[in-house]
Symmetry: C2
Subunit: 329 residues, 2 copies
């Protein structure tokens, strides 16, 4: 059964007052595919805009098995114990298939999920990458308006979702396993290139010698990439969720990253660029939605397809003339 | 110095009469970025449409070093010697960087390039993947109108260009090297999945035992993919450009592929689907071009970006309102 919707203002008030129940319901609203919900959601985001922008947006990625959930549990716990409010979102376009994945099961972030300063939200359970990414972006803003200091966006899907996350966070942390050789081949070069730093997770016990080797290997691999526009030099660190190792160091790194980038202007520049990309994505989506809805309603599309199929008209010509007709009607 | 342009009709007449010089100039026209050339090109393609559709469109891909050029030289020579007219196009979004790459140097298809029944066209030397793909698609139609029986589209870039080629050909042949182990990791699973068949190139001399092993490995790997909608079972063959080995077998395979698919309807279905994708791409491109050109002319865009940057408006709301303003003006 669907719960009653609030007004955009009521959602906004609850969120700004840091009411977690309202925040949770607001994210549910955002994830809804009902057009009526969409209209409320758009207004809600608009209302929350003045309260956004202050958090540290942290993307965390890595192949399945690298230990993302336990890492986030451990790292997030360090933060909340210091009074830093942490929200965790996941982007998982494939979660329809992989039921019960990472965040679906909150118990995998056992410590963090019970802390009053933490908010963990499982990934929306369906949709294309574009759709899921857009909803995660919106949820992130709501969490920000709700006063969370650090918002972690975890990728669950492998491959394209990293790019989607990179486009919405300030810092992209890539988790790797100590067996560097195997991994260098499993992870795409492009994903390593996006990383602002690499943490070699599970760097504990017997894995430690391997982890140190891996650190050297990755440090060398990172040096091959072009210098980042942010002027930030990616680092490679060792971490262990099991032993809580490296968490402090990672938080220090993030703090100095923010300081450096706020000083050189890239912090703001990157966010402006991300908002612009989001705007352009929205334009594309909305324009196409409107266009196809209207030409379909007029039954123009089938006729055009028929002409294309029988080689009466080239696809380019067909597109040009259909757009012209649409604009004149 | 730019040569004088012909009228769309004059280009079309030359092409249909199989005048290779006119075909070459027409492709140059298509590759031009001048708006005035674009208008002629659109009309030219429209005029050529009734003469298209009869060729076998063959995509050939493989990692650098697999021997694509020598393979095409050898395979194409077999065809032209039988009186089959062959055109070779390349899709290479990155050719700005990799000057002198594959088709830029026609001498790498030494036999084929001198044959009167062959037409080899280097890749356009600049542009994004989308842009290059669209021009290659158009060039393909012109070659078809010029009566070529087999049109080979070679990918030069690695990664995304395979998808672009798959979207415009009837059959996608993936070339591999005999060292299967190394290669299976280098080539993405998604690209193997797109393949209608695999040819293990350089299957000669000392490589032969390795090549036979590779054949078994790939055959097994292919069996793991879902059955193709075309009901075609991908094959693995051995080939050697050096010895001319396997070329005959590949041509027989392509012939029986066409027969089978023409019978079960997938040949036509796939082409219809490709034209539809092309149409949708054109719609997206044209709509966005028109939109941005007009809102930019009215100076609306800078204002909106300013509002987004200062968090006065959400990107979604901004998109919605800008589209509304645009539609009402």
């Amino acid at each position: 059964m669907r719960r009653k919707r609030l007004s955009p203002e009521a959602y906004k008030d609850g969120i700004v007052k840091q009411d977690r129940a309202v925040l949770g319901r607001a994210i549910t609203l955002i994830e809804s595919t009902l057009p009526s919900d969409r209209a409320i959601a758009d207004d809600l985001i608009q209302a929350c805009m003045p309260f956004t922008g202050k958090s540290f947006r942290l993307g965390i990625s890595g192949v399945p098995g690298v230990g993302k959930s336990t890492f986030i549990d451990s790292f997030g716990s360090l933060l909340v114990e210091r009074g830093i409010r942490v929200a965790v979102l996941a982007i998982d376009p494939s979660s329809q298939q992989s039921k019960g994945s990472i965040l679906g099961d909150k118990t995998r972030m056992n410590r963090l999920s019970h802390h009053p300063l933490a908010f963990i939200r499982p990934s929306p359970t369906s949709g294309t990458l574009g759709g899921v990414a857009s909803k995660t972006r919106e949820s992130l803003l709501l969490c920000e308006a709700a006063g969370f200091d650090v918002i972690i966006v975890e990728t669950v899907g492998v491959g394209q979702s990293e790019t989607a996350v990179r486009d919405m966070v300030d810092f992209f942390l890539l988790l790797m396993l100590p067996n560097a050789g195997d991994e260098l081949q499993g992870i795409k070069k492009g994903i390593m290139e996006m990383a602002d730093s690499i943490a070699i997770n599970k760097s504990d016990g017997n894995f430690l010698p391997k982890a140190r080797e891996a650190k050297a290997t990755y440090a060398q691999a990172l040096r091959l990439f072009a210098r980042k526009e942010s002027e930030w030099t990616p680092k490679v660190l060792l971490s262990s969720a099991l032993e809580g190792k490296g968490m402090d160091e990672i938080w220090s790194m993030l703090t100095s990253y923010r300081e450096k980038l706020e000083k050189n202007g890239y912090w703001e520049a990157q966010r402006r660029f991300q908002m612009r990309t989001w705007f352009e994505d929205s334009i594309k989506q909305s324009l196409l939605d409107i266009f196809y809805k209207e030409v379909q309603a007029e039954g123009k599309l089938e006729e055009i397809y028929e002409q294309i199929n029988t080689s009466q008209i080239s696809p380019i010509q067909a597109a040009r003339s259909l757009i012209e007709t649409w604009r004149n009607s």
